[in-house]
Symmetry: C2
Amino acid sequence: MIENRRRFNKQEYNDRVLKTRKAMFDKDVELLIVTDPANINWLTGYDAWSFYVHQCVVIGTDNTLFWFGRIIDAAGAAMTTDLSAENIIEYPDNYVQSEQEHPMEYLAEILQKKGLSNSKIGLEKDNYYFSARAAESLYRGLPNAKFVDANGLVNWQRAVKSSQELIYMQRAGQVVEKIYQRVMTVATPGMRKNELVAEILHAGTLGTDEHFGDYPSIVPLLGVGEESAACHLTWDGGVIPADSGICMELAGVHARYHTPCSRTLYFGQPTQEYLDMEKMVLESINITLEMFRPGNTCGEVADVFFDFLKKQGFDKANRVGYPIGLSYPPDWGERTMSLRRSDTTVLEEGMSFHFMPAIWLDNWGFEITESVVVTATGAKCLSNVPRKLLVIE
Amino acid sequence: MIENRRRFNKQEYNDRVLKTRKAMFDKDVELLIVTDPANINWLTGYDAWSFYVHQCVVIGTDNTLFWFGRIIDAAGAAMTTDLSAENIIEYPDNYVQSEQEHPMEYLAEILQKKGLSNSKIGLEKDNYYFSARAAESLYRGLPNAKFVDANGLVNWQRAVKSSQELIYMQRAGQVVEKIYQRVMTVATPGMRKNELVAEILHAGTLGTDEHFGDYPSIVPLLGVGEESAACHLTWDGGVIPADSGICMELAGVHARYHTPCSRTLYFGQPTQEYLDMEKMVLESINITLEMFRPGNTCGEVADVFFDFLKKQGFDKANRVGYPIGLSYPPDWGERTMSLRRSDTTVLEEGMSFHFMPAIWLDNWGFEITESVVVTATGAKCLSNVPRKLLVIE
C-alpha cells in the first residue's frame, strides 16, 4: 500500500475486522460477501471508482479476508489496502459486463477451491452493488451453501464513529463552510444554475488549506423557484431569477467522509412566507438538537420534531434524517437507522446524523439542515454555516 | 412537465416506447420493470438524483407505462416527464431504506390491483439499482408471475443514436474540449491533485457559452506517477511532482449525454518511454478508427487493435472500449457490447463508443482515447482535443 493513501492506522482496521467478525458470529454468519463500497473501504481501506463493476471483500469468522475484483483494479487494491498479494484476487476481463459470464460465478469457483462452499454465507441483499443476478449466480454456483440476508450488518458496525473518523467529518464540515462562503461571494440573480454549481464544486474540491475536498456521493442538488418543490432535481443551464428562493443540498467531503449541510438562499427581499418558514424551521432545530443524547431513540427524536411541526400546522411526508459518515455514490447516508417515529434504535455517543427538517410544499420548498454527532449534552454540529435563510440582496 | 426540462420532443419519446414494446414482444416479455436510471430517462425523460432509493418505470406490451418511486420524488417526475398524474405512482416513505418493508412489495400490490400479476415479467437482473432483495420481494409478492432476465433489453434499444442525441453528444464533446483548454492553462507541477480536479469540475460544469455542463457519471480519475498503474483511483491532496506523467480519464457531459476523452499529461520533458508509448498508441488509434464502419463487428475492431498491439510486444488485459451516450453514476458506459475479440455485435451507423486504447503497465500507465460515432467512412470523433501526449513545460 502507498503510505499517503492510508486513512487509518492498522490497529483501527484490525478492530473493525474483529468487530465485524463478532457481529457475524452473533448472527450465525460464517462468511460475509461485502459489496457496499463504503463497507469495503471501512474494512480494508480500498478506495477507487471501480464499483461500476462487480467486486467485493469476503470476510470469514475464520481468518478469511480477501478483496475480489476486476483484473485492472488489483493494482489499486494493492495501493490502498494492507492486504497481502494472495488476498487480492482478480477476475479476468471477459467477465466484465458480459451477458454470458458473471464475476460471481468466478467467485463461487474460488470459494469452492478454498473449501468454503458449504458455509453459511451472508449477502448484502439490498445493496446497490449486489444485483439480483449476482445473488442468483452465487446460488447456482454454491448449491451447498446456506445463504442469509446480512444487509446492513457492516453498516451497523459503522454507526458509532471513532475519534479519527470524527476528525475527518469535522474537516468535511470545514469544507462545507468554505463552499457556503464561496456561494455567498459569487451568487447573484441572473446567474445560471450551472455557473453556481461550478463554483460549489470548485470550492468543495479545493477544500481548506490543509485538507483536500473529496467528491460528494450526491452531486449538489439545487431547487430554484417552483423546482424547489421537487427535492432531487439537478442543475441545468437555466437562469436564477431575482426575487426567488433556492434550496441547496450540499456536503463537504474529506477522505470519503461527508458532512452534509443544506441551506435556502433568497435572491432579493424575502417574502413573509419565507421568513415565517425560517422562523419555524429554526425553532424546530433548536428543540430537536437537544434530543440527540445517548439513551434517546431515533423515534423519540422524530416525535419531538414531528409533534412540533404538527402544532404549527405542517406535515412532512418523509423521515427527518439519517446516519452519515463514510460513503460512495449514489448515497451519503449509511442506510441503517432513520429519524422516523417508528425507529426504536437507541442513540449512542459518537453516532452521526444528517438532521434534515426540510419542508417541501406544493410549489416551493425550504431547507436548513445540520450534520450532528450525538454527545452527552445533545447534538454537536459538525459544521458552522450561518444557520438562517441566506439572503442575497 | 416543465418545458425547459424536456430534452426531446414527444414524438421521440413515443418512438422509443414503441421500439421497446416491439423488443419486448419479440422476447415474449409482457411487462418490463425498468430500474436503470438511464433507461428510465430514455423512455420517459425522468431526470433526478433519486436512484439511491428504489424506483422504476413499468412498461407493458399493452398500454401500461408508469413511473413508480418515493413519495417525495413524485413532484420531480411531474416536472421532467409527460406522464399523466395517474401514471406517477408513489410509495410512502416508511418503505425507504427499511429493514422491515421493501418498495418492491408495494409495487407487487399495485401490479396485483392492476390485474398484471400473472404476466411474464422482465427484470433488469444485473442493474446496479435492482438489488437481490428487490427481485426476491417481487418473486414473493407475485407468485403467479413468470419472471425472465431482460437485463440490457432497453440498453440495446439505445445503441443507435438519434440525430438529437448526437447533437447532445457533440455538445458534450465541446464541453470536454473546454475542460482540456482549462487544464492546459492552469496545470503546473507543484499543484495539488485536488486543485487540478477543482478546475476540471469547474470547467466541465460551466460548459460552453451556449450549453451547460452536466455532472459526469464517473468523477475525474487522475493517476499521477506510479498511481497511474491503477486505473480507477480518485484524487487526494497530494502534490503533482515535476517530471511526472498523469493519466486523466474525463468526460464532457450535456443533458446527461457523455463524451469521454482521456489524455496523458507530462510535466517537464517527457522520457523516451513516454514518447515511444505516445507513438504506438497514436498509430493504434489511426488504424483502429478506420474500422468503425457499419457491417464490421466489435470483435473485428478489437482484432485490429489487439493484433497491432501484440506486434509491438504489448498486451492489454481488458477490452478496448464500450458504447456510450445517456448515463447516470456509477458508469458512463451503456453495458451492451464491448470492444473485445469475442464480441460478434455488428456495428451500425449511429452507434457511439468510447474507444479506449489505454495501456496500464506495472508502475505507470498511458491513455489517449476518443469518443466516436460509427459512420459509413469510419469513426467520426465527438470531440476535438489535441490527440497527443500533452506536455506542460
